[in-house]
Amino acid sequence: MEEFLASVERRAFRMAQISTGYSEDALDIVQDTMFIWVRKYSEKPKEEWRPLFFRILQNKIRDWHRRNNIRKRWRIWLQPWSKSSEEEGVENPIEHLADPAANDIGDQMILGHSMDALEASLAALPLRQQQAFLLRAWEEMNIRETAAVMGCSEGSVKTHYSRAVHALRNLLEEHRP
């Protein structure tokens, strides 16, 4: 079991880091994934370990994006309040939350040293395209495995993957020096 977890942890961390843009959040996601996997699925046959692990990981990443979107909505909703309180010199606690906009491709390009053009382009893809691409092209899963991990049909995987490849090629072309 330890050997299996050691074999997937780096890739899992990098997938979460590319998707969220934050190392700390990526570590939290990997931790949650490992805990759930050990508790609920480590008794399953070994050949099911990998797809189950990545399925939990992808769900956790999706949950992170959902929470982040809610945070974004609150940020927008609180903006008028935030402006008036700034005028009154009141500190806004929302300012201490991680800035989801920092995941924007432009910002990532400026931050450069930690995120090269490829990672920034991957981060800019819609989540489902990003998942399909990383699982197919990097984790080398076949369409059936990818569909099982993503919890969608094989046809959807093909569509997401093909769009991801097309978008990535365009994005990387744009960022070519």
């Binding site: 570590l27 805990f35 490829l118």
Partner: protein, 120 residues
């Protein structure tokens, strides 16, 4: 053909870059990943320890508990209607591949449902 070659070459380059990124994870992060893994494995060890603790329960006590449980269960026949076997239910499930997949993955959906309240 040319397009396919160019896509293959593009994907090869992308994979190479991603592999490099994986190789270059800072030592501190690797050490934290190692700690997370050890913590996760501890959960399993704790579960095993808990199970082992209950295995040496004296056999007579176990046998008595089983007999009492059976007696209680048999004295309350429950809803006979619910217990009846209905082959039509199984037939309905077997009739569609999608449904079988759904039933096979029920535990995963249960997990998703459990995760939902924490999502916000």
């Amino acid at each position: 053909m040319k397009n396919q070659d160019s896509e293959t070459s593009f994907l090869k380059k992308v994979k190479h870059s991603l592999d490099q990124g994986e190789e270059n994870i800072p030592a501190e992060t690797l050490s934290r990943l190692n700690r997370i893994r050890q913590e996760a494995l501890k959960i399993k060890k704790k579960e095993i320890a808990w199970a082992v603790k209950w295995i040496p329960m004296p056999y007579p006590a176990l046998a008595t508990a089983t007999v009492v449980l059976l007696a209680v269960l048999l004295s309350f026949p429950g809803d006979q209607k619910q217990a009846t076997f209905n082959p039509l239910d199984d037939l309905e499930i077997l009739a569609s591949n999608n449904k079988i997949e759904f039933y096979e993955e029920l535990d995963f959906y249960a997990w998703l449902a459990e995760e939902e309240p924490n999502a916000g």
